[in-house]
Every structure is written in structure tokens, then in C-alpha cells.
Subunit: 279 residues, 2 copies
Amino acid sequence: MTIETLSQARAHGGTQGVYRHASTATGTPMTFAVFVPEHAPGARLPVLWYLSGLTCTHANVMDKGEYRAACARHGVILVAPDTSPRGDDVPDDEGYDFGKGAGFYVDATQEPWARHFQMRSYVEDELPALIGEHFPADMDRQGITGHSMGGHGALTIALRNPGRFRSVSAFAPIVAPGAVPWGEKALGGYLGDDRATWREYDAVALIEDGARLPGMLVDQGMADQFLVEQLRPHLLAEACEAAGIPAEIRLHEGYDHSYNFISTFMADHVAWHAERLKA
Amino acid sequence: MTIETLSQARAHGGTQGVYRHASTATGTPMTFAVFVPEHAPGARLPVLWYLSGLTCTHANVMDKGEYRAACARHGVILVAPDTSPRGDDVPDDEGYDFGKGAGFYVDATQEPWARHFQMRSYVEDELPALIGEHFPADMDRQGITGHSMGGHGALTIALRNPGRFRSVSAFAPIVAPGAVPWGEKALGGYLGDDRATWREYDAVALIEDGARLPGMLVDQGMADQFLVEQLRPHLLAEACEAAGIPAEIRLHEGYDHSYNFISTFMADHVAWHAERLKA
């Protein structure tokens, strides 16, 4: 597999790059961002995945996430994939919450989405292989986090792949897509009406069905405009409580859903992951 | 004077806001960003001005500058003005380096620019009065910094106003606009052909003409694509050396002209200013 370097710049002592490759999973070119901290020649560093939310590309967290200082300090690579396939051949929806920019980290089974919207396979299988091959990454030390739709992605990917991630966290995640409007539209559209097929893409349902994690860190702003209707963190708290999963769910007065919130707590998350990735 | 709040969000414990007002200096609405750290009721905090570079608005540093964590830590307000008047009535140039997004912090005397391009008066006089009135700012403790064209702005405003700023720094500044293509186009366009009128908008010329500062911090990337033709930091180093101005000019291997560079050294600058503003 080959990758094309779109840009590289020195930042916080390391290299912030943007890369593109022809994805087998999505059948499209895919763009992603990687920050590699300064490191000794030959060293392999732990990897933190950051999955972005609705409407985002790889660039939003790269521009606004304020992760580089913390990743440099802790010696952690950060990988930020795109949120959907892109291109003129890729079908789209007029809403911001379905289609391009809204892949929901699922493998679609319904037409016209199934051809390209294979973001589960892309993020779970294809891109990790590429990262392990092209970057100084220690793939035995991976953590995963994400925001909103990407928090949903982080939690569900970790729950479906026990043992792969040493650390899991999320910013304002969609915790129960099967029970909220964003998720009902997306999972119904990509997977069809049989709600049984949705459960492997629903963190709360996965936990109810027996999936486990050794722990998680979740931050949520209390002034988040999507808190009540779309995010509903109490559903995750209740599922973790019932399953005996130690979940640190922190509620923050006054914070909204934006990168003002994410960037405020990013250094905390990177440190939390680093502690587990370097243990 | 009244201001309109366009947005406010909690970030790093403080408030990142974007505001608009009707400017007397430019005869247009002007937008600016202010970050106010968490503070005790009634407290007044020192102020750091950040002047942006070519093509930027208030938003570039707000999104990519990574200043909020440091400003919150040190209790410093950061103000980011726009770089020119905006609007359909404002004349423009087809180049990115003149007209809208390229006010160069001068009061234009030439037509058709003189009517609106009064960015010196705006940043030097009008906006400071507004900040002192509407924000918990201690205007006796001001510092100033900026990037590229904004570094030029920071240095020249500080040199023309001895005693107003307790601390002055710059990222990759244009230090001698009268001697480089960007500056020759802008100063010639806004001020006309008489180069004597350019000298009050040229940091090196101001120093040669007797202006002094108690010190300055300048960071410059050595992989900056504009280093040799437009920035020429050695001219500033030589002028400071001749004038006995203690200038800390740091050259950084591998860094370019972008916010990857700025954000890397932003926390250093905020700390450097805070030390002087809180002394």
C-alpha cells in the first residue's frame, strides 16, 4: 500500500502531516492526518486514534484540537481519519447528519450507500495496517478517542475489539445511536430497518449484549446544545454501572459541543491515554 | 460605544468571544476576538494584543493559535483584531497582499484607500478604548505581539508609542517593509511614493530614527518560505544591535510560516509577556 504526502510541517518539535491513499474499503481516495512527535531513530511510539464528528474532515481537529503539545510531551502519535468517503461518485444526503461527513463508522449494507460507506472496515482494519506500515507506530500500544459521532465510533470500535485498545475515551459521544434522532437516521439509512443489526454500532447496546472495557474517560459539556436529544450520557453511565465497567464520566458546567470544549480537555485525554499506553 | 456579541463559548475555564462594532476609524463594521480567562469578580487583567498576518481575520489565531491554555494559566486577556476593513463598499486589490486582509496597520493617505484603510488609528486608538470600556482589562498592563504583517504591526505600534506596552514580541515579522516586496507594494499603495512617509511604518527605520524599546522576543522559522525575500530578520537584529535594544531573536530549524510554527511557540510568548505584565 502506498500513501501520498499532501503536506508536512514541523510543529511542537514533531511533524504534522496530511496524507492520501486509495482505499480498498471505501473505493475512494481517503485523506488522513498524523502527528508524529520527535523521537529517537528506530523508536516506535504508541498511537492515539481521534475520530471526528459530523461534518468534519481530518482537518478540524488538526486545526482546532490543540493536541500537539500534549502528544509531544508524552511521545504519542495521533491519527485523525476523515469521517466518510468523498468525491463526486459518492452519494450524499442533503442533511449534514447523513452521507458525506457523516459515515458513522459503520459498514453500510443498504443502497446506494453500501458501495463506498465502509467506514468501519476502513477505520478498524485498513487504516491501522497502513499506519503500522508507514509510521513509527507501535500497534501493540493503541488508544482511541473521538468527538460526538467520533466518540460513538471510538466506543463501539473498542467494545467490538476487546484487547486491541489499552485506553478508550470520548468527548461528548453519541452513546446510544439506536435511541436518538441522529443515530436512527444514520443507522436506518446505512443498515436498514432491522434494528437488531444496529446493536453492534451502539455502545450502550454492545455493553448490554456483553461487551466490556477495562475503563473509559468521557467528558461532556453541560451547555452542549445536543446533550438532551442526541447525546444522553446518562444512558452510558447506567449501562457501565450495570455491567461493572469503571467509567469516569465528567460533566462540565458551561461548555458547549465545539472545539472550545474539546481543546480545553484534550491535554487531559492525551495524558490519560499516555499513562495507560506507556504503563 | 456599543459592541455586539457574535458568539461566546467557554474555553479553558474562560470565555472566547467574537464581537462586532461600528468603527469610526474605518467607517465599517469591525469584528474582533477576545479571550478572557476565569477571574475574580471585579478583577482587571493584563492584555496581550495579537495582530494577524496577510489574508487573516480575527479567526485564524482564535482557531489555530493555541493561546487559550497559556492565557488561562497566566491570567492574560488576548485581543485579536481583524487585519483590514471589510464589506462591499471597501475597495480591494486582486493580490492577497494588498487591500482586504492586508491593511498593514497603516493610516492610508492615498485614494481609494484613505476612506476605510485606517488600521493604525483603529488598532492604536479606537479598539483599545473599546477594550478598556467593555472588558475586565487593565489597560496599564498591555503587551503586543503578532505574526508576519502583524509582527510588523506589533513592532511599529510599540516603537511609536513608548511606554504604552510593557512587553513586545513577534512571530516571523516583516521587520523592514520599506526594503521588501510586500512592504513596497503596501506602503507605496497606501501612502504614495514619498518614502519618507513610510518610515513610521517600518520597524528598522523607526529604530534608525531613534525609537527604542526595553526589549523584544522574536521567533523565526528557518524553513519559512518568506524568510529571505520578505522577512529578513537580520535587518532587525542589526538595527537593535546598533541601537542597544536587547532583542532575543530565536531562529528555529525546520519551522515554516504557518500556525504550526506560531502555535508551537505561542505558550512561550504568552509566558514571556505575562512575566513582564505581572512584574
